[in-house]
Subunit: 218 residues, 2 copies
DNA sequence: ATCGCCATTGTTGTATACAATTTGATTGAC
DNA sequence: GTCAATCAAATTGTATACAACAATGGCGAT
């Protein structure tokens, strides 16, 4: 499964947007980007088309493409949907997960704890992501897995923020334990609810942060 | 919100694929389509990029784009996810739906019944679709609404098929009544479960159809 | 001075030309 | 006769040229 040049450019642009390199509402200049990437406008434009479908940029005819960073309301909505998607994954996974995957989950969780102890945030995020991706996969539904991964990726930059709350990491690890226990027990309702609240609280934390920033700005 | 030419072409191609005008695995010829649409290859290619993100076509570098019609397994997975998305919409909508929207739902359902009596399948499908779209909207979560609409549209051509089962339309209308009653009562669990099974059964019917075709082919 | 109109400039959208790669066929050898 | 290799044709990917349109600035009129 090789990947063409235009696709590669789309991925790079996607990364630049997701990591917040471009401000919200900023216009993406075709000429500038073409020069920066050392290509003509054509592949840049083809990449824009893809990004527009993902919702990362908005295309205004004859005006240009503008990066669309979701506002607080849209983010809350996305976290709400993410919580439900993960809940579904958990419900399915509790019935379908393999022993090997359970071990993998346990391993990822253990490495998460190590990363916390070592205060290595990059490691922590990677293992945390791995933990969730395994659950998506073990839902046994490829399409669901893809959709969950898609939204997970979209929310990635905002997930990082909420973990800076005092005590949130500790709480998050305990929730992971509960999720793992429910999956191990084949408790679909338990796994579902544990995952839903685990993700939903991320949105709420984010909301609190937004609100406090809002207050601070006044 | 004006729409450019390339976007329009993308929509037309999407329709052609969704309505099954192109066979699965068929290669889309840039020259042919460019001539048919009376444009150059450039807008066609830009449309391809969009379709590839939606998963309607697959792009193989230096090989071309091929329409990707989901197989039986993938379709079942998609119906499963659709069922869960609608269940979530129903759970939220039961708490958030407005009286006006409840009236709209009742109206759509009534027009559905009329269409059934008149054996007007086009009307039936339109009103049935309206019924579901209202529930998505009344979930109060714009992002969820968009995602639900997206998948609904993707599954549209396959939804039609399963309704040809004997008695299915009658059963479907009764399920609509149950859904409407639960929403009216603010019963989030009831609405959720009614919607889940209502959609899930569509996937199962489709599966039965696939299986029977499989047997017939042997 | 302000409002409106026109021209100029810059940007997007489309077409065409060119390069690179794949596919199919034909030819030759074994 | 079959297989392999090379060449030709077709097709995709990219660059460039051109056309259509929006934005901005200056000029004139009121």
């Amino acid at each position: 499964m090789d990947i063409s040049r235009a696709d590669h450019i789309a991925e790079q642009l996607e990364d630049l947007i997701l990591t917040g390199r471009f401000g919200s509402g900023e216009r993406l200049d075709e000429h500038r980007l073409a020069e920066e990437f050392g290509v003509s406008r054509t592949p840049i434009r083809e990449a824009f088309q893809k990004l527009a479908v993902s919702g990362l940029v908005q295309q205004l005819p004859r005006r240009g493409v503008f990066v669309h960073q979701p506002g607080p309301v849209e983010l809350l909505e996305m976290f709400e949907v993410m919580a439900e998607l993960e809940a579904v994954c958990g419900r399915f996974a509790a019935l379908r997960i393999s022993d090997a995957a359970l071990d993998d989950l346990h391993g990822a969780n253990a490495r998460c704890l190590l990363a916390v102890a070592a205060k290595d945030s990059d490691d922590y995020y990677r293992e945390n992501e791995q933990f969730h991706r395994i659950i998506y996969r073990e839902s046994g539904n490829r399409f669901l897995e893809q959709e969950a991964n898609r939204l997970h990726r979209r929310l990635k930059p905002f997930r990082r923020i909420q973990l800076q709350f005092r005590g949130r990491i500790q709480q998050s690890m305990e929730e992971h334990d509960a999720i793992l226990a429910a999956l191990r027990a084949g408790d679909s309702v338990g796994a579902s609810e544990a995952l839903r609240s685990h993700v939903a609280v991320q949105g709420e934390k984010f909301h609190h942060l937004m609100a406090s920033l809002q207050n601070a700005a006044e």
